[in-house]
C-alpha cells in the first residue's frame, strides 16, 4: 500500500507542484516506460503513450484512492489502459497465434510443467520466440505475474478484472505458450 514517501508525494502532486511531478517521474518513470514498451510496438509510440500516461496522472491525481491500491499499481493501471487504447486507436497490424479450437486446454499439465520447469537454454529461446506470438494483453499478463511478481489481486486491479478471471487466463496463456512452442518446434 501507500508508503510515507508516497503520501508526501501525493500531497505535492495534488498541489500541482512541479517538484513533486519530477520526483514521481524519477521514481516510477522507468517501470512505466518498460510496461508501455512491452505492449506498444516502436519506441516513438511508446514515448507518446508514456507522455499521455503521466499527463493523465497529473490531471487526475485527485481521483487516486489510497485505500484501493498502491500508487505504483494505480500508475500501472493507467499505463495499461492507455496502451490498450492506443493499440485500438491506431489499429496497428499485430500478428499473433489464436487458439480457436481450444487445443491448448487439452494439453496435459505435466508436459507443460516439464517444458517450463526443466532448465534448458534452447527452451528459453523457444519461449522467447513464442512470447512474440501472444496477443499484447496476454503477454502483459504473463510479464506482470512472472517478471514483476504482482499478485492476482494487483493484476486484476490493473486489468480491471477479477482475480479468478486472471487466474484462469494465466493458466490458459501458459498452455497456449506451450502449444506455440510445439508448433515452432515442428
Amino acid at each position: 500500500m501507500t508508503t510515507i514517501t508516497d503520501i508526501d508525494l501525493l500531497e505535492g502532486l495534488r498541489k500541482q507542484s512541479p517538484k513533486a511531478q519530477q520526483q514521481m517521474l524519477e521514481c516510477y518513470g522507468r517501470n512505466i516506460f518498460a510496461q508501455v514498451a512491452r505492449l506498444v510496438p516502436g519506441i516513438e509510440n511508446a514515448e507518446e503513450v508514456y507522455q499521455d500516461v503521466f499527463v493523465k496522472v497529473f490531471n487526475n491525481i485527485n481521483r487516486y484512492d489510497a485505500e484501493k491500491s498502491a500508487l505504483k499499481t494505480w500508475l500501472s493501471r493507467i499505463a495499461y489502459n492507455e496502451s490498450i487504447s492506443f493499440l485500438r486507436r491506431k489499429s496497428l497490424p499485430v500478428v499473433y497465434y489464436e487458439d480457436r479450437n481450444g487445443e491448448a486446454e487439452k494439453l496435459s499439465d505435466e508436459e507443460v510443467d516439464e517444458t517450463f520447469g526443466r532448465p534448458n537454454a534452447e527452451t528459453v529461446q523457444l519461449i522467447r520466440a513464442a512470447l512474440k506470438h501472444l496477443p499484447p494483453d496476454e503477454r502483459a499478463l504473463i510479464t506482470m505475474f512472472y517478471y514483476e511478481e504482482m499478485s492476482l489481486k494487483e493484476i486484476a486491479y490493473v486489468t480491471e478484472s477479477i482475480p479468478t478471471t486472471v487466474a484462469s487466463k494465466l493458466s490458459r496463456t501458459r498452455k497456449k505458450l506451450y502449444k506455440i512452442i510445439k508448433i515452432l518446434q515442428s
Binding site: 511531478q21 519530477q22 516506460f33 510443467d113 520447469g117 499478485s151
Partner: protein
Amino acid sequence: MKEEQLNTLRQQDINLRDALKLDEAELPQMPADLNARVMQRATQQPRKTTVRRIWPWLAAACVVGFIIVNLMPPKASSPISLQGEGGVVAEKESQPEVETPSVEQPSIEQPSAELPIKHSAQTRVKRMVAKVQPAKVEVSEPFAEEPLLAQEVATPETEKKTKVEPTVTLTERDIPITRPENYKYTPEEIALMKKQANEAYLKWAQLELEIAKHNLEQTAQK
C-alpha cells in the same frame, strides 16, 4: 487454478522467467529527455475538466425539460379543466348548458339506457340547473346542429324521471368524453360497426375469388 498453485508455478517455471528477463533486457531504453518533455507538456496543457463535466448535465436538463413539456396535460379551453371548488362548480355549470337542446328539441333527445350512470348525472345536473337558469337559452342552438350518432334507448323509469324534471335531461352525447360513462359504445354504434365489418368481409371474399379466378386462368393458359 488456485492462487497457491500459480504461485508455486511461478517459482517452478524457470525457463519462462529466464525468457522474460532476457526479453526485458532487450526492451528499448527510455530516452533521457523524455521526462523533460512530459514536464513541458504537463505545464503547457490547460485543464478542460470543468468544460467537459458541464455538458452532460446540460444535455440531461434539456431532455428532462423536453419530457416534461411533452407529457404535461394540455390546457382545456372550457372551465372543466379547473380544479378545486371553482372547477367543480364550473363543471356543473357546463352540464346545464349542455342539457338545453333536450328541452327545446324533444325529437333529438332520448333518455339513456344506462340507468345508474344517467341517474347520478341527472341528479348532479338537477342541482346546478336550479342555480343556473339563464344559461340554458343561450347555448342550446349549437348543440341542435350536431348529428345524432349516439341514441339512447328509452326505458319507462327514465321516461318517468324526465317527466318529473322537464328542464333537466342529459344525452350521452352531452357528457364530456373524459367521463368514464362515455367510454362505452352505444348499441347503434355497435350495429354500425358490425355492418361495416360484414361489408368489408364480403368485399374481401369477392377479391379472393377474383384472385383465384385469375390464377386459374393463368395456369390454364400455361
